[in-house]
Amino acid sequence: MLGYLTKRLASAVPVIIGVTLLVFLMLHMVPGDPAEQMLGEMAVDKTAVANLRQQMGLNDPLAVQYGHFLGNILHGNLGTSMLAHRSVMDMIGKVLPSTFYLTLAGLGVAIVLGTLLGIAAAVRQNTWLDTSSMVLALLGVSMPSFWLGLLLVFTFSLRLGWFPATGSGGWERMVMPAFTLGFGAAAVIARLVRASMLEILRLDFIRVARAKGLSEHRVIYRHALKNALIPVLTMVGLEFGRLLGGTVVIETVFARPGIGRLIVDSILKKDFQVVQGAVLLSAVFYVAINLLVDMSYALIDPRIRYQ
């Protein structure tokens, strides 16, 4: 067990190093000069460009720059925003919790919605309920999320006045963003729950339970569901990443603070240092979550290690 954990932990190291390299190179692959991009119209002033290049350390050889970059990261320093004159780490630290909660809430919505639809489909296999549950689940993944978000604002905020449209804090500001985010991921879970429920309902111990005269309700919710949810858990890490990426759009629509919105805003403002830092931290965060999820499975169910 310990061996597996160390190996899994060690495998994340080259990935993280690769991510830093890729994120570092990003700045240098931007067409034209990064300093000129940031200065916009002021780039005509060649001294300003030279100063900014100096400030950003762009005149050093690439390897040296990457060395500085890595060294800074090891000290928890993701650089300074050239526009805000602030530590990028500070900017990210302020918004990361909000994104984390939104992603968790979205995951919750996806699991609840997906499980319910999956069960409904499985227990009434090949009926209209089966088909309509699965189509409903697919609807979420078929609508552009910004469109779904706008329609929700229109309906539940503007027309019905149930929820505030923007901002963070309090469950009522979480409902619409979490639903928009989670609805898109519910289909995968519904499909998985349906398939594994179908499989399990055919298994011996369920038949035994039924034969013992347990109510159908009890059979499904006590026995079958518990087992059907195991494959869902294996998806959590992957889905978490998808939802984390999805916040880029959702946070913009609902004007929520978050790392996704920070990235989009910084791309539009050409504040590349912030883009670099935020993308890097999102990736590290995601890798860490996956690592945790994997390790906890390995502890719960040793068979998973071999997959």
Partner: protein, 541 residues
């Protein structure tokens, strides 16, 4: 998204700020009158599209930052509605005859909102801070130039030396970007000063929630409003909050639900919604001083080096139709080289000289030897009448405007090629001049902008690439002259040259559109058309 685009451009313009500053006076809603009794206290929540990067007045280069800053930072002077400089934190001043040395007498018994006394040392500290390269000032530094140094004579007297005379320097001090800041707070907060700036002002910062909102709270000790505000003492409102809501549709929805009480930069499609319900909403539209939203026409590149082609563009483009299509008639027709609300603008000069009409465009082109050719595109000496339009791809508005121009000018035999460039190549191409027309907009309270835009090497924005010694001499003289009557005469001539030479195609005059709930009164707009909430109050229903 539409206003953002303009916004980002204007940000650029403010950054130039050789001209883009000033402070002053023009009330927006005094005309509507106050009905109902003012209510003491209350909170105002304003929906703004984008979060500013910093609230440090000396660092910022963004209009949205300045809009918040000016509610907590008083300036030394302000410009009134006649373009005249009036005293604010400076009670009076004297200048030497050469205009290179000023002595300011400051208001006494004024404190920064952290309690630090406001005095000559603080002003010197602030201005030296702006000039310090380490501050990396994006806008304040160009407003303060040609500031060289200052000497503290006593607590309330400051002597300032300029490195060269300037007719607009004093006026530029009206910009909130040059406002004095608390030296104690700067020393204490260091890098974090931009997150919680401390100035002399009616409000002070309470909280900045990253990527969400900025909240200012009433400064109970405030005692230094400018006379233009028409009110004394601390502000009426307890708090003002700006919420940052990028999506237009959502930002407008929050006004309808009451999540916000006012929204800045009302997107054009929503203007009709606001106007349709005067019981619920008030629309304040205050023209921004400066250039219209416009296209600069390159005089050095074929075929727009031919004045006939430039004039035909001005005749041929139906600006009214563009404003209707893209902006729901929310903006007035482009006035000329300067928007109609700018001090010194020659009213209606564009359409006076170039009444819109395809027939007139065709006549000019016919006369100049551009004959109809294959596909309806005109030809002269075997060359097609192709016009290259620089389109900044980061900014959808450019694309939309470009498409409309393309459709309209095809009718007079021009073939517009839209050249899509991302931000930095777009600026590079504009500077190099390998295009025919390119779009821009500039905010400025002073006609000195005519120098920035059309003088040989006037600034980085001289995208007509116009060179004319007589014009250069004229605008140089304008910059040196301090007599307003003489300046008006000079800039009248300058505008005539710009229009007769057809250097620019004005599309619409830029307007600040602010929508509020109808029970909100007393919003004051300064010379830059920025709203101040110092005297704002709710009406008791």
């Amino acid at each position: 998204m539409r206003r953002r685009i303009v916004g980002s451009l204007l940000t650029a313009a403010v950054a130039l700020s050789v001209t883009a500053c000033g402070g002053g006076n023009s009330t927006g809603d005094s005309a509507q009158g106050a009905s109902g009794a003012p209510q003491q206290g209350g909170k105002l929540i304003v929906g703004m599209q984008y979060e500013p990067v910093t609230l440090d007045p000396h660092v910022t280069g963004q209009a949205n930052g300045i809009r918040i800053i000016l509610n907590m930072c008083d300036s030394l002077v302000y410009a009134d509605d006649k373009g005249q400089v009036q005293p604010w934190l400076a009670e009076s001043w004297e200048a030497n005859p050469e205009g290179t040395a000023y002595t300011f007498h400051l208001k006494k018994d004024v404190k920064f909102s952290d309690g630090t006394p406001f005095n000559a040392q603080a002003v010197k500290f602030s201005w030296d801070r702006i000039m310090d390269p380490k501050t990396a000032s994006q806008s304040a530094i160009s407003a303060l130039r040609p500031y060289k140094e200052s000497q503290v004579v006593d607590d309330s007297t400051l002597k300032v030396t300029l490195s060269e005379p300037s007719a607009i320097w004093l006026k530029n001090l009206g910009a909130a970007t040059t406002a004095p800041v608390s030296p104690a707070a700067v020393q204490k907060l260091g890098d974090q000063f931009g997150r919680s700036p401390v100035c002399v002002g009616p409000f002070k910062l309470k909280e900045w929630k990253e990527k969400e909102s900025v909240t200012l709270v009433r400064n109970p000790d405030y005692n230094s409003p400018s006379p233009a505000f028409g009110q004394k003492g601390a502000p009426v409102l307890d708090e003002v909050t700006w919420k940052f809501i990028p999506e237009n549709q959502v930002r407008f929805s929050t006004l309808e639900t009451g999540e916000t009480n006012a929204i800045e930069d009302v997107p054009a499609p929503f203007v009709a919604n606001v106007k349709a319900d005067p019981q619920k909403y008030t629309l304040l539209n205050v023209p921004y001083p400066g250039s219209p939203r416009q296209y600069m026409i390159n005089t050095k590149q074929f075929p727009t080096d031919d004045i006939a082609v430039r004039q035909a563009i001005l005749y041929g483009v139906n600006t009214k139709a563009i404003i209707k299509t893209l902006y729901a008639d929310a903006f007035p027709d482009g006035n000329g080289p300067m928007g109609a609300a700018t001090w010194g603008a020659s009213k209606g000069i564009f359409r006076e000289l170039y009444p819109q009409g395809a027939d007139k465009a065709n006549a000019v082109l016919d006369q100049a030897g551009w004959k109809p050719g294959p596909g309806g595109i005109r030809v002269k000496d075997g060359k097609r009448l192709e016009i290259v339009v620089n389109v900044m791809s980061d900014v959808p508005e450019y694309g939309e405007l470009g498409q409309l121009l393309q459709a309209q000018l095809r009718d007079v035999g021009m073939d517009l090629k839209l050249k899509s460039l991302s931000r930095s190549p777009w600026y590079a191409s504009n500077a190099k001049g390998d295009y025919n027309i390119t779009g821009m907009g500039l905010w400025s309270t002073d006609p000195d902008m005519l120098k920035s835009l059309y003088r040989t090497d006037g600034s980085v924005f001289t995208w007509s690439h116009f060179t004319n010694p007589d014009y250069d001499k004229l605008v140089d003289e304008g910059a040196r002259t301090s007599d307003p009557t003489k300046r008006l005469e000079i800039y009248k001539q300058a505008q005539e040259i710009v229009m007769k030479e057809a250097l620019v195609l004005p599309i619409y005059d830029q307007v600040n559109l602010l929508a509020t709930q109808s029970n909100i009164k007393g919003i004051f707009f300064d010379a830059n058309a920025y709203p101040h909430f110092y005297a704002t109050y709710y009406v008791k229903k």
